[in-house]
């Protein structure tokens, strides 16, 4: 038996059992029983049904995207509403899915208005076999104009009340889905916990305008010459989601509540990162809308390889392991120093590090005068900001090397306690005092030279 065989991906998420933590988020890919059965067959462990409620009427078109260079859909926006199909059709299909996949998690996302409606619809989805309920308090477009979705997510008191109604009516576990369109995610997070939610999921989409059409001056997606704000998701929102997940997981009153991570998850690395910050299931939408259900193959294989390499058998073995390393700025070690190092054998001479540092950072990289294009780090100027290593297109060409001896440790917090922080405008304790910066007029020596000496009409 190989180590791989010992790995058990199954989860028990607040009482909802699933063969693995890869779930589909409530979104267009879970619009029908057909799609969800296809997804389960492809390897997904759970699915949150596209939000049920009073059927809506949708517009055409519905999606927009942010492309970057040659990458499509680095960010994705939609203005589609909750289900526009009759409840009866959805429930019939839900029962059918559960019949074929009894061990997979089918969660009904719900969004209705009155307490009576909540009670009615909960009964119906439970009867259809739903393993859990997710409360859609996040949708930032359309539904919020009618007092639902993110309108609830942005009012912690209202949110708590509805969670309480639902908890009183439901017999299956309840997940509260939060909107990121709020200043402190812990406010609605805490309200959900106080309302006795069984679990939390986040993030829903971010209010956004993905772009403006330069012919019609209308925002994407364009509906008959006009547009509205959409909900932004996809790889671009992952950093926002990770941060909010961390905020909840580090909150003493919330951290015991299981959290399903959502936001730009596409690869096994994304999955591992969410789990390391405490998520114990993940929900995916954009990656599926881009690549289809088959994308789960890469996530699953990568997660298993990671767990095998690290010696984990379940995701609970490493869930939350990054949390102790996420701290406040004031507790970071001011004595730690890294500096850039360029591997000359790998350098291709694009000199992006040089210009990024000179124009965008700390003037700590020089170009050689011998005609070669391999730049040189000016060690005394390098503040270890990472920019050069980030712009470098060659893997492992610029590395950040530790420069301190590791013995000293001093934080802003400690300095403050000891009354040793700069407190006058020209304080000698200013971190950048004495750090070399060129004289302003040096800038004009870099004027682009016209190599041919021929007049250039563009100028």
């Amino acid at each position: 038996m190989s180590k791989k065989d010992k790995i058990d991906l199954s989860v028990n998420f607040a009482g909802i059992k699933a063969p693995n933590p890869f779930w589909l988020a409530s979104a267009p890919p879970t619009n029908s029983g057909y799609q969800i059965m296809k997804a389960f067959d492809a390897g997904w462990g759970g699915a949150v049904w596209k939000t049920l409620g009073m059927p809506t009427i949708n517009v055409s078109s519905r999606y927009g995207s942010t492309n970057y260079g040659n990458s499509r859909m680095a960010g994705f926006s939609n203005i589609e509403l909750i289900t526009d199909r009759p409840l009866e059709d959805n429930l019939r299909e839900m029962a059918e899915v559960k019949k074929h996949f009894p061990d997979h998690a089918v969660i009904a996302s719900l969004m209705v208005d009155t307490r009576q409606e909540w009670e009615d619809i909960i009964k119906q989805v439970e009867d259809a076999g739903a393993d859990g309920i997710e409360l859609n308090f996040g949708c930032p477009h359309g539904m919020c104009e009618r007092g639902m979705g993110s309108a609830v997510g942005q009012e912690p008191e209202v949110l708590k009340t509805i969670v309480e109604w639902v908890k009183q009516a439901a017999t299956v576990p309840v997940i509260t889905k939060l909107s990121p369109n709020i200043t402190h995610i812990t406010d609605p997070g805490l309200a959900a916990v106080h309302g006795k939610t069984d679990a939390i999921s986040l993030i829903n989409t971010v209010k956004s305008i993905v772009g403006i059409d330069l012919e019609t001056y209308a925002p994407y997606p364009i509906v008959d010459g006009k547009g509205t704000n959409g909900g932004y998701c996809g790889p671009a929102v992952k950093p926002i989601a990770l941060h909010m997940l961390k905020d909840l997981m580090q909150h003493p009153e919330i951290s015991n509540t299981p959290i399903s991570g959502i936001g730009g998850i596409e690869t096994w690395r994304d999955v591992v990162e969410f789990i390391l910050l405490g998520a114990t299931s993940v929900q995916v939408c954009t990656a599926v809308m881009h690549y289809g259900f088959g994308i789960v193959r890469e996530m699953e294989a990568g997660l298993i390889d990671f767990m095998e390499n690290k010696g984990y058998t379940t995701i609970y073995d490493f869930a939350g392991k990054a949390l102790p390393n996420v701290t406040e700025w004031k507790h970071l070690n001011l004595k730690s120093e890294v500096r850039a190092k360029i591997n000359e054998d790998k350098c291709i001479g694009c000199d992006l590090c040089y210009i990024a540092c000179d124009d965008g950072a700390h003037q700590a990289i020089a170009l050689p005068t011998d005609g070669s294009r391999i730049p040189l780090i000016i060690e005394e100027n390098c503040v270890g900001c990472n920019l050069c290593s980030l712009v470098c297109p060659v893997e492992e060409c610029i590395t950040m090397e530790k420069f301190d001896d590791g013995k000293e440790h001093e934080t802003w917090h400690e300095l403050t306690e000891q009354n040793r922080i700069p407190n006058t405008w020209n304080d000698d304790r200013a971190g950048g005092k004495g750090h070399y910066v060129p004289e302003p007029t040096e800038a004009l020596k870099h004027k682009r030279k016209d190599k041919s000496g021929i007049n250039n009409k563009a100028m």
């Binding site: 000199d351 992006l352 190599k451 041919s452 250039n456 009409k457």
Partner: protein, 448 residues
């Protein structure tokens, strides 16, 4: 067995002479332009003889600004489209691309360039306008890349320009001397028309300048004269049998090919003599015309050839066989050529030496001499005070391309002895600015 079947019609000709750098579609251009790193002080730009801001135009293509990209290209190089396809990009911009340093494929700069330029040429969009008429007239001898570039630049500066061209078409070797798989006649002419329509210089075709009287007339009618005469016919080998039927000069052979396409009759067995890029072209073209056997004979070793490696590889891929260290002694035959007699060579004490008794004959029914072009010394020597170097190249001031006779400026093959279209394009533009500076300075000086 030959690689190529003899082309019987235009369609088959096009098949055999398929464009080496076909036009990229929008998808290809988008993907390719996305790969560009936008290097600082980009090596590609520094490797371009005309200094095109390559990272800028690639970024413009990537952001859907093809017209802006074309403007960036033409701002530096009036032969922007021709250079995209004809330039030996493998040893210029693309050869300098930093991706080569990690064995990643370089950006296909030439093809991206054409993607932008073809787009504006097809649209006919006017990117340039003649400058305000300054009342001065400049004569240009030769409508090749240097002459056309000089004319375009002068027009933007407000000069009236007449180009005197010996042949019936503009662009010089671009249409007469470049291999057909590098650029089509239609594509060359489309760019020529595009430029002339925007800038309105005159070209007097079939109007060679060849006598002292012609020159005197130009000197009295114009404020300055630009010499862009290029080179002449294929140089003689001074060898027995050179005048037999079936012996051709490479330049003349290619010129006929460019105009007659599939109507050019190629022989069964062809021997091409020479080791430069023109020899590679002639050999490759012979193969593509359906010759059974094409032998490329060079008197030195393969490594000493002047041709770029990729040009030799292209010829070999067309079915050409290389014959090295073989120096032609005599072309044999009765009325028609029947073969070439060679002697084997070796390097002795650093000198190329014939190996005695090693003569052998390669039977053939056609010989193409690609051993260099004659210079235009006859015409150039008619110009007063014009200094030529020992290789009959016009001596110029490299900042202005002014010759030793101040009213004459020069550029292209006439000053470099035979280089690329891109060098001519650079020279013409440089000379135009030199002319402008010289005329402006002359005006400022009070006449004594």
């Amino acid at each position: 067995m030959a690689e190529y079947k003899r082309p019987e019609n235009e369609q088959e000709f096009k098949e055999n002479f398929k464009q080496k750098k076909p036009l990229m579609n929008d998808t290809q251009a988008h993907i390719e332009s996305s790969r560009c790193l936008f290097c600082y002080d980009a090596p590609c730009m520094n490797a371009c003889p005309t200094g095109i801001d390559i990272p800028l135009f690639i970024k413009q293509i990537n952001t859907g600004n093809k017209q802006g990209a074309a403007k960036t290209i033409y701002d530096s190089n009036w032969m922007g489209n021709a250079c995209g396809t004809i330039c030996p990009t493998e040893v210029l911009c693309e050869g300098a691309c930093v991706y080569n340093e990690q064995d990643a494929p370089p950006i296909l700069i030439g093809r991206l360039q054409n993607h932008a330029t073809i787009s504006v040429i097809k649209s006919g969009k006017q990117l340039y306008f003649p400058g305000e008429d300054n009342g001065k007239r400049v004569a240009i001898i030769g409508a090749g890349p240097a002459g056309i570039s000089c004319a375009c630049e002068l027009r933007t500066l407000g000069y009236s320009v007449d180009i005197f061209e010996a042949k019936a078409q503009p662009s010089g070797l671009t249409v007469h001397g470049v291999a057909p798989y590098k650029i089509s006649n239609e594509e060359v002419m489309a760019e020529m028309d595009y430029l002339q329509n925007q800038l309105g210089y005159n070209i007097l075709y079939n109007h060679p300048i060849s006598t002292k009287e012609d020159l005197k007339k130009l000197e009295s009618d114009y404020s300055a004269i630009f010499i862009g005469v290029g080179l002449g016919k294929t140089a003689n080998l001074q060898m027995t049998g050179e005048n037999l039927l079936g012996v051709h000069g490479a330049v003349e052979f290619i010129e006929e090919l460019r105009s007659k396409h599939s109507e050019v009759k190629i022989a069964q067995k062809v021997v091409v003599i020479g080791g430069g890029n023109t020899a590679m072209d002639a050999a490759s073209e012979s193969a593509r015309l359906g010759a059974e056997e094409v032998t490329l004979a060079y008197r030195r070793g393969k490594e000493s050839m002047g041709a770029y490696d990729f040009e030799y590889d292209l010829a070999v891929s067309a079915g050409v066989k290389g014959l090295f260290n073989a120096s032609p002694v005599e072309i044999i035959g009765g009325e028609r050529v029947e073969g070439v007699r060679f002697v084997k060579t070796e390097i002795v004490n650093g000198r190329l030496t014939n190996i005695e008794g090693s003569e052998f004959t390669v039977a053939c029914d056609m010989v193409i001499k690609a051993t260099g072009q004659a210079k235009q010394g006859k015409l150039l020597r008619l110009i007063d005070k014009l200094t030529l170097d020992e290789k009959t190249r016009i001596v110029v001031n490299s900042d202005t391309n002014q010759t030793t006779n101040p009213m004459y400026f020069a550029g292209g093959d006439a000053i470099n002895g035979g280089a690329e279209v891109v060098n001519g394009a650079y020279d013409g533009k440089l000379a135009a600015n030199g002319i402008h500076q010289w005329i402006t300075d002359n005006q400022r000086q009070p006449k004594t």
